[in-house]
C-alpha cells in the first residue's frame, strides 16, 4: 500500500514535470513580452522582478529557476498582469472554487447515481428511457446555455436567489448546479452501464438462487462493482470541478480560480499561467490517486499490495 502510494506520487511528479515543460514552452512561444501589458507595475519593480526570475537569462536557465523557486520557497512567481504574487491569487480564489466544486459534486452524485440505479433496475422500460434522455440533455446542453436559462427561469422567479454574485450562502446553489449538471449526467450513464454489466454476471444469478430480495441483490451484490466506472470518472472530474470553471464563474460572477487561468492565457501572464496549471495538475494527480485507492477498497481483486492469483 505504502509502496503503491509512493510509486504513484513519484509518477505524479513526472506528470507535473511534463505539464510544466509543456506550459513553459507554450508560454514562451506566446506572442508579446511579459510586462508589456503592465499598467500598475513601476519600472523599478519590473527590473527587480526580471532579475529575480531570471527573465533576461537564457531559456534553459529560466526553465530551471521557476521550479527551484517553487521547491525552495513555495514561490509561484508574480502575476504580471495583476501585479500580485500568484500565491495570493490562488489562496484567495481556490477556497471559493473549492466550495463551489464541493457543491457541484454533491449535486452530481446526489442526482446522477440514483438516476443511474433506477434506470438500471428498470432497464428498457419507459422510466429508463426517459431518465436516460434527460441525462443526454444534461450532456448535450452546454453550461453556457444552462447558466443563462437558469438565471432567466429560476433566479428571476424565486426570492432569495440572486441572478449573480457571491456572498450569501444561497448564492452558490445555481452555479454549483450548473457546474455539477454535466457530471451528474455522465454519472447517471456510467452508473447505469456499470450496474447493467454487473447484473448480467453469473454471481447475480447465484444471489437470486439464495433467495435474496431484489433490493438486497442490488445493494449488497451489484452496487459495489457497478460503481467502479463512476469512481474512476469522478477522480479527474472532481479535480476539474474544484479548480473552477471560467464559464460558470463568468456567468454567475463568482470570484473563483478558473477565470485567472483563461485571463492569464489571454494576457500572456506566464507565471500565473504556469502556477495555476501546475496547481490544477497537482489536484488531478491527487484526485486520481484518491479514486485509485477507492477502487482498491471496492474491488478486492485490484486491492493494492496483494498479488492477484
Amino acid at each position: 500500500m505504502f509502496r503503491f502510494i509512493l510509486g504513484r506520487l513519484l509518477q505524479g511528479l513526472l506528470v507535473l514535470l511534463a505539464l510544466y515543460t509543456i506550459t513553459f514552452f507554450l508560454a514562451k512561444a506566446m506572442p508579446g513580452e511579459p510586462f508589456t501589458t503592465e499598467k500598475n507595475v513601476s519600472e523599478t519593480t519590473k527590473q527587480y522582478l526580471r532579475k529575480l526570475y531570471g527573465l533576461e537569462k537564457p531559456l534553459w536557465q529560466q526553465y530551471i529557476i521557476y521550479p527551484s523557486k517553487i521547491i525552495s520557497a513555495g514561490d509561484f512567481g508574480v502575476s504580471t498582469s495583476k501585479g500580485r504574487p500568484v500565491n495570493d491569487i490562488i489562496s484567495q480564489s481556490f477556497p471559493v472554487s473549492l466550495v463551489l466544486g464541493l457543491g457541484a459534486l454533491t449535486f452530481a452524485i446526489g442526482i446522477g447515481v440514483p438516476i443511474g440505479i433506477i434506470s438500471a433496475v428498470r432497464r428498457n422500460s419507459w422510466v429508463d428511457w426517459s431518465l436516460m434522455a434527460v441525462a443526454m440533455v444534461g450532456i448535450c446542453v452546454p453550461a453556457f446555455t444552462v447558466g443563462p436559462l437558469l438565471q432567466i427561469l429560476v433566479a428571476a422567479n424565486i426570492p432569495g436567489l440572486k441572478v449573480a454574485g457571491w456572498g450569501s450562502p444561497l448564492d452558490f446553489l445555481l452555479p454549483a448546479f450548473t457546474l455539477g449538471l454535466v457530471s451528474a449526467a455522465y454519472l447517471a450513464r456510467l452508473t447505469r452501464g456499470g450496474l447493467l454489466e454487473i447484473l448480467s454476471q453469473d454471481f447475480i444469478r447465484t444471489a437470486h438462487s439464495k433467495g435474496l430480495s431484489p433490493t438486497r441483490v442490488i445493494l449488497k451484490h451489484a452496487l459495489r462493482g457497478g460503481l467502479l466506472p463512476s469512481v474512476a470518472y469522478l477522480g479527474p472530474a472532481f479535480a476539474a470541478m474544484i479548480s473552477g470553471s471560467f464559464i460558470v464563474e463568468t456567468i454567475f460572477q463568482v470570484p473563483g480560480m478558473g477565470q485567472h487561468f483563461v485571463n492569464a492565457a489571454i494576457a500572456r501572464d506566464e507565471f500565473l499561467l504556469m502556477g495555476v496549471a501546475l496547481f490544477f495538475g497537482f489536484l488531478i494527480i491527487l484526485m486520481n490517486l484518491a479514486s485509485d485507492i477507492l477502487t482498491g477498497l471496492l474491488d478486492p481483486r485490484v486491492r493494492i499490495g496483494k498479488e492477484a492469483s
Binding site: R205, T206, G211, R216, P300
Partner: protein
C-alpha cells in the same frame, strides 16, 4: 409422494427469431435423499429445467407455458415471488458450473456462505458465521477459520466449488440442484467434489438433481438418470438399467459414441448411426431408430482391428530437454519478478504417421509444450529437431518453410477463425501466402475439395464463421490447417469444448485424415478416455515435466507412476 415432482413442464423462449421450445413437456421426480442425474448435450434444456423450477429465468424472453412442479406438496409454478424466495436458498439450493464467475468477487467467502442463513433465519450474525464456518470445514476447506475471510480470487477452482457447495448446503436444504458442478474442474478435483457430494447426501439426507453432459460422472454419482434431448426427456431409469439396456436410439448412440478405456473401434459410432431425425413442415420433430443401426455398428466393430502405421516408422520430431520459463508479476513498481517454469525439461519423440497423446491436468504445461514445439513460443532452452533440422534459434524467415509442414488446431473453434473473413478468404490466404497451387482457379478448386474432405460443402464458401456451429467451425479449422498440406498437426484440446456426439465426429475426421494422408499428430488433452482412443503412444505431464511415457495400451493397463495411477483412478467409469 415424491419430494419434487415435475409434471409436463413447458418453458419456451420467445424472441424475434421465433419461439424456441427449450423445455418441451417433461416429467420426472426426485425422492428424498436421492441423486438423480439429468444428462443431455448443450441446448437440450437441462439447465433451463432447473432454472424454471426456481423461477430464475429472465422473463421475457423465457416463459413457463404450462405444467406443474410440486415440492413437498406445494405448487411452485406461479407461486408468489415472495413465497418462492423463501423456498430458494432455504429448501432448494443451487450450485453452478463456474465457481469463479458464480461467486461474488467483491465479497468475502464467509459473508457469502453465511448470507443464506441471515436472510432466511432469525439468527445473530455470530451464529450464522459460526455455522458457515462449520459447513466450510465439512466440505473440506482446510484452515477454514483463516481462509474464510479470503476473497474468491484467492481460492483455487476446487476450493471455490467447495465454498459454493457450503453456501448451498448451509441452510440444510431438502434439495440441491447441481448444474454441471464439476465440468470446469480437473479429474482429480472432480473425483473429490463428487465424493463430498455423496458424503453430504448420506449425512444430511439432501436430494440432489445432478445436471451434467458427462455420462461417466452420472454413472459414478447418480441413483437414477433422466436423459434429455431437444427439450424432451427421451429416457429415464436407474443407472444400471439405462447403461446396460438403453432403449431409445439417442441414448444408445450417446453411450456408443463416447470413447472409453475399452473402446475397440477404429472409427467411433455416432449418434446418427442410431437415430433418424425427421422434421415435419410444422417444425415438430420425430425421432426414430435407424433400421440398419445394427449392421452399421457391426461394420464399425469389424473395422476395429485394422491397425494404422507400422511400429517402426521413422522419427519425425525429436524434443530434447525443452524448457519454457515465464516471468510473472513485477512491472515498474510491483513485486520482484518470479519465474514460472511452465515447461521444465520435456523430452519427446514423435514418429511419422503416428499419434502421441500428451495428457495432464490444467496448468501442467501441456499447451505451452505444444506451442513451444511449433516455435510459437520461444523456448528458454532445449532443442526441437524436426525432420533432422534443429528449429531452435532459426530466424522468422528460416522457420517459414516449416510452417507449411507443421500446423495446429485449437480448443475453441469460435476464437480460431477471424470473424471478419469469409471461409473462402480464410482458406485461400495461406495458399496465396505460401504460393501453393497454380493460380487462382486451382486454389479455388483445392479449397472446394478440402471443404468436402472435412464434410462441408462448397455452398459454405462465402459464409462467415459465426454462421456455423461449433463442430462445423472445428472442421473449418482442420481444413485451414490442411491448406498448406502439413505432415504434422498439434491438436490442442481440439475436442474438449464439444458435446460427445460432435466430439465423435471430429475424432473420426482426424482419424480418417490420418489414414488417408499419413498425418502425424501430437494430441494434447486433459481427457484420458479420448487420449486413449486416438493415441498410439501416451505421455503424462505434471508440473512441467513428463512423468511417464509409454505405449498407450501399456500405460493404461500398467501405470508405473503414482500420479498416472491417481489420474486413471479419478476417471469416472461406467462399466456395469
Amino acid at each position: 409422494m415424491p419430494l419434487l415432482d415435475v409434471q409436463n413442464l413447458k418453458t419456451y423462449f420467445h424472441t424475434r427469431a421465433g419461439t424456441t421450445r427449450a423445455v418441451d413437456d417433461i416429467s420426472f421426480s426426485l425422492e428424498k435423499g436421492e441423486i438423480v442425474g439429468v444428462v443431455g448435450e448443450s441446448g437440450s434444456g437441462k439447465s433451463v429445467t432447473c432454472h424454471s423450477i426456481l423461477g430464475l429465468l429472465p422473463q421475457p424472453p423465457a416463459r413457463v407455458e404450462g405444467g406443474s412442479v410440486t415440492f413437498d406438496g406445494d405448487e411452485l409454478i406461479g407461486l408468489d415471488p415472495l413465497l418462492l424466495r423463501a423456498v430458494r436458498g432455504r429448501r432448494i439450493s443451487m450450485i453452478f458450473q463456474d465457481p469463479m464467475s458464480c461467486l461474488n468477487p467483491y465479497l468475502r467467502i464467509l459473508d457469502q456462505v453465511a448470507e443464506p442463513i441471515l436472510v432466511h433465519e432469525d439468527v445473530s450474525r455470530e451464529e450464522a458465521e459460526s455455522r458457515a464456518l462449520e459447513m466450510l470445514k465439512k466440505v473440506g476447506i482446510r484452515d477454514a477459520e483463516k481462509r474464510a475471510n479470503s476473497f474468491p480470487h484467492e481460492f483455487s477452482g476446487g476450493m471455490r466449488q467447495r465454498a459454493m457447495i457450503a453456501m448451498a448446503l448451509v441452510t440444510k436444504p431438502d434439495v440441491l440442484f447441481a448444474d454441471e458442478p464439476t465440468t470446469a474442474l480437473d479429474v482429480t478435483v472432480q473425483a473429490r467434489i463428487l465424493q463430498i457430494l455423496r458424503d453430504l447426501r448420506d449425512e444430511l439426507g439432501v436430494a440432489v438433481l445432478f445436471i451434467t453432459h458427462d455420462l461417466g460422472v452420472v454413472a459414478e454419482v447418480a441413483d437414477r438418470v433422466v436423459v434429455m434431448y431437444r427439450g424432451k426427456v427421451v429416457e429415464q431409469g436407474t443407472v444400471r438399467e439405462l447403461f446396460k439396456n438403453p432403449s431409445h436410439p439417442y441414448v444408445k448412440g450417446l453411450l456408443a459414441c463416447r470413447p472409453s478405456f475399452e473402446t475397440k473401434y477404429h472409427i467411433l459410432p455416432t449418434v446418427e448411426d442410431f437415430l433418424e431425425t425427421k422434421t415435419a413442415s410444422d417444425g415438430s420433430v420425430t425421432l426414430r431408430e435407424r433400421s440398419d443401426a445394427a449392421q452399421r455398428l457391426e461394420k464399425l466393430e469389424s473395422d476395429g482391428d485394422l491397425e494404422g502405421a507400422s511400429d517402426s516408422s521413422a522419427l519425425l520430431l525429436e524434443v530434447k530437454d525443452l524448457k519454457v520459463h515465464f516471468r510473472s508479476g513485477g512491472g515498474f513498481w510491483g513485486k520482484p519478478r518470479e519465474v514460472v517454469k511452465a515447461v521444465d525439461g520435456v523430452s519427446l519423440n514423435i514418429h511419422k504417421g503416428r499419434t502421441l497423446g500428451l495428457v495432464g491436468e490444467s496448468g501442467c504445461g501441456k499447451t505451452t509444450t505444444g506451442r513451444a514445439i511449433l516455435q510459437l513460443i520461444c523456448p528458454t532452452s532445449g532443442n526441437v529437431t524436426y525432420g533432422g533440422v534443429s528449429l531452435s534459434g532459426l530466424a522468422a524467415e528460416e522457420i517459414r518453410p516449416f510452417r507449411k509442414r507443421m500446423q495446429i488446431i485449437f480448443q475453441d473453434p469460435y476464437a480460431s477463425l477471424n470473424p471478419r473473413m469469409t471461409i473462402e478468404q480464410a482458406l485461400l490466404e495461406p495458399m496465396n501466402f505460401h504460393n501453393i497451387g497454380s493460380g487462382r482457379e486451382d486454389r479455388r478448386a483445392r479449397v472446394v475439395s478440402l471443404l468436402e474432405e472435412v464434410g462441408l460443402s462448397s455452398s459454405h464458401l462465402r459464409r462467415y464463421p459465426h454462421e456455423f456451429s461449433g463442430g462445423q467451425r472445428q472442421r473449418l479449422c482442420v481444413a485451414r490447417a490442411l491448406t498448406v498440406e502439413p505432415e504434422f498437426i498439434v491438436c490442442d484440446e481440439c475436442v474438449s469444448a464439444m458435446d460427445v456426439s460432435v466430439q465423435a465426429q471430429v475424432l473420426n475426421l482426424l482419424r480418417e485424415l490420418q489414414d488417408r494422408r499419413g498425418l502425424t499428430y501430437l494430441f494434447i488433452s486433459h481427457d484420458l478416455s479420448v487420449v486413449k482412443f486416438v493415441s498410439d503412444e501416451v505421455a503424462v505431464m505434471q508440473a512441467g515435466r513428463i512423468v511417464e511415457q509409454n505405449d498407450a495400451e501399456q500405460l493404461y493397463r500398467n501405470p508405473v507412476n503414482d500420479y498416472t495411477r491417481q489420474l486413471l483412478d479419478a476417471v469416472p467409469q461406467s462399466d456395469f
